[in-house]
Symmetry: C2
Subunit: 386 residues, 2 copies
Amino acid sequence: MTSPTENILLAMFLVFGSAKLLAEVFERLKQPGIVGEILAGIILGPSVLNWIQPTDLLKALAELGVVFLLFRVGLEVKSSELVHVGGTALAVAILGVVIPFPLGWFIMNRWGEPHIESIFVGAAMVATSVGITARVLASKGLLSHRASKIILAAAVIDDVLGLIVLAVVSSLAKGSVNIMELLATSAVAIGFTGIAATWGTRTMTKLIPRLERHLKAGEVQFNLAIVVLFGLALLAIYAGVAAIIGAFLAGMALSDSLDTRVHNLSNGVSELLTPFFLAEIGLHLEVSTFANAGTLLLCVAVTLVAIASKMAGCGLAALRMGWRNALRIGAGMAPRGEVGMVVAQIGLGLGVIPARTYAVVVFMAIATTIIAPALLNLTFRDAAAH
Amino acid sequence: MTSPTENILLAMFLVFGSAKLLAEVFERLKQPGIVGEILAGIILGPSVLNWIQPTDLLKALAELGVVFLLFRVGLEVKSSELVHVGGTALAVAILGVVIPFPLGWFIMNRWGEPHIESIFVGAAMVATSVGITARVLASKGLLSHRASKIILAAAVIDDVLGLIVLAVVSSLAKGSVNIMELLATSAVAIGFTGIAATWGTRTMTKLIPRLERHLKAGEVQFNLAIVVLFGLALLAIYAGVAAIIGAFLAGMALSDSLDTRVHNLSNGVSELLTPFFLAEIGLHLEVSTFANAGTLLLCVAVTLVAIASKMAGCGLAALRMGWRNALRIGAGMAPRGEVGMVVAQIGLGLGVIPARTYAVVVFMAIATTIIAPALLNLTFRDAAAH
């Protein structure tokens, strides 16, 4: 009866419908469906048809989508297994920062871009958007593969490292670095992640059945899971890391405590909302960036460096697992997605990077995200699904 | 990392968490949990704690919540059974319009309120918010009870009748009634509802398995269900009826075509979002209305007339099913909820009802919604769950 309802439903119908339609087309062409869903956002968005604008509502649905996606992935992972691969994952995360950062800076610097802009592009290259990789691995039934576990653990660590890099870079842009503040920030982030990862499961396996026995209103287990999910996602934000890391840790903590039916209930939310997360990434691509040949060339160069540097850095750290696994892990860490875009937005907000550099980073973030699923398909081709 | 994500998650955590907490408290006090969830909105909202404001996002989540709630209810209902009770349902819907409308006008008129305001309050009394009743009946496992089916069918018909009443009243407020336009509007609404209700199931039981055989990307059945849901909800809006009627018809059309697992996937969305629908109703209550004793008295009088007139009208039409079922159906049709508020908003928008009358209608809409679950509990006390 009211017009807002119509707008909401129309936007959801268009985004969900075309994302799934293009996913189907891509799967038939033996391409990753996920790329079709991002492409749906590009086509519907301001750059091409302009039927859908990136509104606050779509952004909120996208954020909820990736939160539930990571929660779902967490539910399929045992924290003990993740701690088991911790050493390798730490190496993968660290080399995934140490190699891309200077290379990102270098390519921009060689291109004649100013120093601080080059540093921000380097920082954006550090980011890992684990949502994309998680979606691909989950849809292939490969989450329990050893390489998948290392990717997931490394992505969590990478988020903490990325936070530190971003804090340093932002301080540099503002003109001063406060070492004590930086140490405190890092300690809180590491402390939260470490505690949630190691004690989460133990606490929940005791707490959930006990609460379940005492509560009686409705879907008790599901309601408790949602409260834990939102609670840990919020705590993650307060600790300085991303909400999706909290969501992943919440899923992992609950992985032993929920019935299959409750898994399905929460999977329903992620099935509905994940297309919005993917399409929303596409909405931000400005096709007009292509108009300038120089900028386009820079976009392509930065994207190539972004992929090569993550594959080299992360692959190198995992080389003792064999070159095949090294490539898998490198490909899994390559997409920058929404995390890379957030770094660019902060640079834009601080006034240290101009619109052109912002467009380059957004292009790199989307392009790596589109290329990574194909790389994952290729490198995991002969891996057995569990 | 960004502040919008924090705001979204914090609002969701507070609304979902406190709604479920109060639902638990109410269930322990042998009261309907649903009332606790509405109360959570009142307490968190501007009237009491002012922790949560009714934002566009919460409104959108609320609308999606009631859309998925009605979809879920539709999935549990067979259209053939609804058509079977069509005669009684039609009588219930018609008497549920014919009795409350003049009584609503009468009480306002006696109170000394202007003519056009009294007519709008009468129109708001015609509305039925089926979401509340559906939630109560579903949670008690009573959706297949004969009285429940009559309530659902009558609520669908009532929405069409309410549309016609609102069109007439709005035309009166604007000063002229276009009979031809009115007939065309009614014909489209009745045509859409009739076709979707009678042919929907037949079409979907043929279409869904055929499409399923040809599609391969991801959760095919779930994706098709979502597209049908959003599609019919949109068509309903274009046909002039409410989106939730389209959602209900979509659920009914698909009730024979979806696996249990897909039911669970879509139930997850409604479990997550229904608390937002309920709490959002509470957010709109202005406790300051109580400050004026005269207004408060009018609120109470209008609410009593609203409940009595629906119970009398709908009950009368169902009297040959026994007084027990008549009371059940009357109680089920009593909540005005968000539909009553929409009518009041239109009156406010047209400038024909002042803020005070608006507050009275909102009070009536919320109060009937809070009282109805208790009436349903009482009247259905000795009904067997199926």
